[in-house]
Amino acid sequence: MDRSSHPRSRRFAPVIAVAAAAALTLAGCSSSSGGKKSEEGAADASAGKATTPRMTVALVTHQAPGDTFWDTVRKGAEAAAAKDNIKLIYSADPNAGNQANLVQTAIDQKVDGIAVTLAKPDAMKGVIGKADKAGIPVVGLNSGLSDWKQFNMLEFFGQDESVAGEAFGKKLNEVGAKHALCVIQEQGNVGLTQRCDGVEKTFDGKLDVQNVNGADKPSVKSTLTAKLKQDSSIDYVVTLGAPFALTAVQSVSDAGSKAKVATFDLNKELINAVKSGDIQFAVDQQPYLQGYLAVDGLWLYKNNGNYSGGGEQPVLTGPAFVDKSNVDKIAEFAAKGTR
């Protein structure tokens, strides 16, 4: 048998791969939508740049790689940094211990301010105390509403997940839902559980909870299809993230269910689905605003001693409802990837 012929023919594969990669890179330059537009958007925002001295801010979140939500938070933070003459250091790790280490590296770098999420507050307590001791102002964002004050943090920008859940439950009553299904894409996540609990508190009908594997779409789809088939009385599916809402729409039609879909959080595709009526409404906690305000808050504190809420009250960025009545206005911004 001729052994050399096979490897030789396959030797072209890497060459083609490199060519494809080059093509992809080129494509990045000539993109007609997405990347370029949103970059221009960011450039517009930095048009009026502050003349205050250059400062460094670290933003440390519990983002899992590739999550659209956190990408929007980061864009907000970058816009504020560009405007305020701030050098922004972004880092993230979903593991609480690793996230605490990232905060420690920010302290070691002697940054002028730290913005941090408290998804697992107890793990962050020690390192935030260290920042406090080192004289670095720390602001909270997104999660940690019940802990930021105890940790002696400056201010907090986020959504009260329970309040958002309760508002969602009331809205479900308004639209006449009787039996809803709350879909948790990450089992054991405190914030997600609080949302479902909040919905349950105000919702007059029956609420079931379903865990799904958020990292695998086919699995999300078939699990929801199974659940909807198993219980045909479910008339509303409540998802806790935009990508899962879009998958839920497919499950509803696969299962031949009459259920409608509503969700927490937004993304570009979801806006179109709200427009077309596939999704009834979405609760937006305005992630862009959280990232923007956290960075801008540190700038204000450094340059004018201001702090929102006076250290007593958090600044709530949500819940803001998006439905057919206001979706067109938001669609413009969402197309840039900033909502």
Partner: protein, 359 residues
Amino acid sequence: MSMTQQAEPAVTTPPVSGPGKEKDGRTQQRSLVLRLLARPEVGVFLGALAILVFFLIMAPTLRQGSSMSTVLYQSSTIGIMVLPVALLMIGGEFDLSSGVAPVASALTASMTAFELTLNVWVGVIAALVVSLAIGFFNGWLLVKTGLPSFLVTLGTFMGLQGVNLAVTKLVTGNVATDDISDMDGFDQAKALFASSFDVGGVNVKITVLWWLAFAALATWVLLRTKYGNWIFAVGGNKDSARAVGVPVNFTKISLFVLVGFGAWFVGMHNLFQYNTVQSGEGVGNELIYIAAAVVGGCLLTGGYGTIIGPVFGAFMFGLVQLGIVYATWNPDWFKTFLGVMLVGATLVNLWVRKQATRR
């Protein structure tokens, strides 16, 4: 990988008694039942059957044809990838990058088509090239460096995770790709990769057919071709295989390229079913693929296994995942149920094999 396993003959015929049919006890013909039980796929078949019966009793909704179709769909999205992974394991290697490889493929197709505003088929072909190249790279690095595949593919796994995210962000400015469902060629590609059809009022996904077709093809290759022999040989004992003239490097590299093909197919399904791809997906699936192959009777050490076994292994995964939902058990316990069921099924598998090999 261990090299202690003996290569299984390509065509498993029962051991023939010696000439003249003299019976001295050592070459005694075992009963048909025992010989059947000794097949690596029978244990997992019985395990899957037991779980199926269990859930049919516990979950009335599962008895409907449409529910079974959903289970088969879930199994097929796992199962298509399990086939090349099982072949690779029989050939004595792992691929830890098999979870994120489909995502890399789907991202390539979606971004190529969208950013250059091309017919989506161009993206599909580009994705195929990239996927095969990733598989080739894994295999090539393995035979060139002599490092264990665990390490080589762990590197690729981590590398791809970063590339998926960074390139997507670089090209699209976001961490998910844009919707390509309104582009030329999308409907054709969807028909091939992600359509469904009705059989007697039950909606069946096309991935189920592809899964079974690929499984039939892989079984034929494994049991009836010279290449199939090579797979057993390189998985059993690489050096002996080389000594008797088996092209070891070609066999190993081509097995990795096959995994690349599987990743491409699954990636295309995900893309055309869900229109967009999120760059962070797929992590963790590699373990499900390997577990389904192991439950299906493939040895972690290589040199032993079948294709039919992993087909049932994937079915068992799909069944347990959805059976728990149909049975309306407390969702907080979901992962625990899954773990207990899988270990249980593997034990049944092991027990059956022991019974079969006992005199």
